[in-house]
């Protein structure tokens, strides 16, 4: 008789004792295998039993009772035994058994669904390769809900900030808040609630995570000659978020297959895949087209917010002129004269508006950061 269940109890090994369960009219008989031919038998009444679902997929029927040797826990998976058990048990076990059956049915259904998704994904990635993958990436990105994007960005953001010296209040924070407010109120149908944090560090950098989490380093603020320059960088970063550039990169890196899986409704799979491939959100580099898009959309946003866009251009120009200092923004944002030139051209094409200055005094903001403004020749 080959075993059809595992029995757990104090004297059994932790992996469980293989046993043969037989369902009788009044209860269960459990025969344990033994090396000396005739095995040990135990019997129990239905009235002594409690049942639940258990195991890694909750698809085992777990039956518990107590006898003189202590607690017994039986893990049943064999469909024949489970069927026989269901038919024989008295009423008091009906309700819990029905719950277990429902749970097992759900697990099976989910598995079918999941494989359906995978099958569909494989099929359509072949199709996707044929039709062009960029469209697919775009469709996949557009299917990812903003809340999910926020969850992803927020965990990276919080984790990053716990290791940083955050500037919590003062003129620098007030200034950045004013810039953010001026910019974000010009965004139509904005699904993001942007959070901008000032972090004390000499690196000349700022970055945006998917979901609208932005970090500006004090090094960047010290380097800038006026608020408009910082606002320019901020506007650029906000547009990386608005255009969902981070997600596009992630979807591209994890591959077409995942992109298709996302289109087919499995958005959450992405995080798992990302972790597997070791993509690090904080070091995500954008593509050249994405940078250009963030520049141009950033410029338009500045214009709408009545913030002088020449600050942005000027800052880019200065960054491209010299490589001194730890220009971290440069490592993710290769500056070229061409980039500033393109923006100049674009700006000339936009309708002229009269800029409205910020309410803060930039020299004061910089003084609050603890060092003299960097003199720029």
């Amino acid at each position: 008789m080959s075993p059809n269940a595992l029995c757990f109890g104090d004297e059994f090994p932790a992996a469980g004792a293989p046993c043969f369960v037989q369902v009788d009219t009044g209860g269960l008989t459990i025969a344990f295998e033994s090396d000396e031919g005739d095995g040990v038998r135990e019997a129990t009444q239905f009235s002594a039993l409690t049942v639940s679902a258990g195991g890694i997929d909750h698809d085992h029927l777990v039956v518990k009772w107590n006898n003189i040797r202590g607690e017994r826990t039986l893990y049943l998976k064999n469909p024949d035994v489970i069927r026989a058990f269901r038919e024989a048990v008295p009423d008091h076990l009906d309700a819990p058994l029905a719950q277990v059956a429902e749970r097992v049915r759900q697990v099976r259904q989910r598995r079918r669904l999941v494989w359906g998704i995978v099958g569909g994904a494989i099929l359509s990635s072949v199709l996707g390769l044929w039709l062009g993958s960029d469209i697919l990436v775009e469709v996949a990105v557009s299917r990812i809900p903003v809340e999910w994007e926020q969850k992803l960005g927020e965990s990276a953001y919080r984790d990053f900030l716990t290791h940083q010296d955050v500037v919590k209040e003062g003129p620098a924070v007030a200034a950045v808040e004013e810039m953010t407010h001026r910019l974000t109120e010009q965004i139509q149908n904005n699904p993001y609630s942007f959070q901008v944090t000032v972090v004390k560090s000499d690196v000349i950098n700022a970055f945006a995570l998917p979901g609208g989490y932005v970090v500006v380093f004090t090094g960047l603020m010290k380097k800038a000659e006026n608020g408009e320059e910082v606002a320019g960088v901020l506007s650029h970063e906000l547009n990386h978020v608005l255009q969902r550039h981070g997600l596009e990169r992630i979807v591209k890196s994890v591959g077409l297959l995942t992109a298709v899986a996302i289109v087919f409704g499995n958005q959450q799979g992405l995080i798992g895949m990302m972790k597997q491939l070791g993509i690090e959100l904080l070091t995500l580099k954008f593509g050249r087209e994405q940078e250009t898009e963030a520049d141009l959309k950033g410029l338009e946003l500045l214009q709408r917010a009545k913030i002088d866009p020449s600050g942005m251009i000027r800052f880019f120009e200065r960054l491209s002129e010299k490589g001194e200092g730890r220009m971290e923004w440069l490592s993710t944002h290769p500056m070229s004269a061409a980039r500033a030139e393109r923006l100049k051209g674009e700006l000339a094409a936009l309708p002229k508006t009269l800029p409205v200055p910020f309410t803060f005094d930039w020299k004061q903001v910089q003084a609050s950061l603890g060092s003299q403004p960097v003199a720029v020749p």
Partner: protein, 227 residues
């Protein structure tokens, strides 16, 4: 079929003796040496979709090899790629194990290997990836680990917390929840180790004493980067 672990410790091999006509499944690339009576067939386990899913989603295990003693009795020597211990488990038809994709080295012909998709939250957060192997059936199962292999025995409802990158295999009678690691467990979000598994018995959990991801990161610092 008889099997024996040679050179137990960091650099072991398994010797499997096959009677005429017997065969064994082995991870592709596990074969070190064999008698001339043994034929190697590459075979997809679990049909087309199963093989595809393994290829795409759990790494290279597109094919398992079948080593068959078709021309008389013989033996085969098998070894894993990474340094680490080997454990041999005997499946009796009722106990089943979930095995992390790199943990499978070989198994008797009568064991059944399925690629299984983790539930969303597990695949999402667990380091073992979206697909793992579910191994059932009857006969020998050979696991390999990175570092030493350690067995944790859990009584019913007994709990144990494991860093998910150290998991090798676990009984299907266990259940687990993924939890965010508290600060003591983890360096940073980006190290990819932010989660631990809280296992609940009954059953066995096999863990490895080294974390492949951390080891890779440690190695990388010595590799000169060319710009």
């Amino acid at each position: 079929m008889k099997s024996e672990i040679l050179y137990p410790g960091a650099f072991p091999m398994v010797r499997v003796e096959l009677a005429a006509g017997e065969n064994i499944k082995a991870e592709s690339g596990a074969m070190v040496a064999c008698s001339p009576t043994i034929d190697i067939e590459s075979k997809m386990e679990g049909g087309f979709l199963g093989a595809l899913s393994r290829k795409f989603l759990t790494g290279e295990k597109f094919f398992f090899q079948t080593l068959r003693a078709s021309r008389g009795p013989g033996e085969a020597l098998l070894a894993p790629t990474v340094p680490g211990e080997i454990a041999i488990l005997e499946l009796d038809g009722v106990n089943e194990y979930m095995v992390q994709k790199d943990g499978f080295l070989a198994g008797a012909d009568a064991i059944v290997i399925e690629s299984q998709m983790q539930s969303m939250s597990r695949g999402l957060l667990g380091g073992e990836g979206f697909f793992i192997l579910k191994i059932s059936g009857k006969g020998m199962l050979v696991l390999n680990s990175f570092g030493a292999i350690h067995k944790i025995e859990l009584k019913p409802n007994q709990e144990y917390i494991v860093d998910n990158s150290h998991l090798v295999a676990w009984s299907t009678t266990t259940s687990y929840n993924i939890e965010k690691a508290t600060s003591g467990w983890v360096a940073s979000f980006t190290s990819g180790e932010g989660f631990v598994c809280r296992f609940r018995g009954p059953g066995l959990v096999y863990i490895q004493s080294r974390n492949p991801g951390s080891f890779g990161a440690w190695i990388r610092q010595f590799i000169p980067v060319s710009e």
